[in-house]
Amino acid sequence: MAERPEDLNLPNAVITRIIKEASTCPLREARRAISQAASVFVLYATSCANNFAMKAKRKTLNAGDVMSAMEEMEFERFLQPLREALEAYKKGQKGKKEASEQKRKDKEKKSSSTDENDKSRDEEEDEHMDDEQEGENEGE
């Protein structure tokens, strides 16, 4: 890439929205600087997290590495909200996977009868809820 990493800015609209929701309206120069700071944060956090991955002799950076990086960077206050967000994200990913599998099954069954279709969908929904409850327990 010919650009500096810092040139990879995050979308202005999103940054502005986050700033407004947290505090107040930023003037253009302030928003630009915060956006830049956010990019620097990503780079710094990535580098820090990568050190943990390398120490563990792993090539792939994982969520745990990022958590360790946050601690190292003295952003412990982020750890709890990040853990909660990660749980929600994992559940969402799992739900999506099940949803697309369900869609596939529905498609296959459409060629046969529609009654069976509805029945299986109800059954799948029940399974879904059990999984979610289990997930919540694990999160604790």
Binding site: I18, I19, T24, I34, A45, L61, M70, F75, L82
Partner: protein
């Protein structure tokens, strides 16, 4: 890519090819951290609910680091979320200075003051234009 996604564990989602580059360049951007080719509308809704910043852009920034070979989808998501928290934090801290100056908008100097005053922002010193 097949219509349905491979059922791969989230952690090693980007690990499959073992190549340093994006393993699936033909894939649409993983904005929702969703490696699956599900309906884009659904994926975008997921995106807005859990992470405000686009994961694709975050991932591009992460890959700018030459020492980083691969990153799990979860790690990209967590960094996106952490960045959001960081922006909130710095915006709130800068606000304190704006209010001291009896202003209702954030100026660049409010940010500079916050960076100078707060230890956690020390890494930013000298990095902003």
């Amino acid at each position: 890519m097949a219509a349905t996604a491979p059922v791969a564990p989230a952690e090693s989602e980007l690990d499959r090819s073992g190549a340093e580059d994006e393993p699936r360049s033909a894939e649409p951007e993983e904005d929702a951290g969703n490696g699956q080719t599900g309906p884009t509308a659904g994926a975008q809704q997921q995106q807005h609910r859990l992470a405000k910043l686009p994961l694709s852009r975050i991932k591009a920034l992460m890959k700018a680091d030459p020492d980083v070979s691969l990153a799990s989808q979860e790690s990209v998501f967590i960094i996106a979320k952490a960045t959001e928290l960081f922006v909130e934090m710095i915006a709130k801290d800068a606000l304190v200075y704006a209010q001291q100056g009896k202003r209702k908008t954030l100026q660049r100097k409010d940010l500079d003051n916050a960076i100078e005053a707060i230890d956690e922002f020390a890494f930013l010193e000298g990095t902003l234009d």
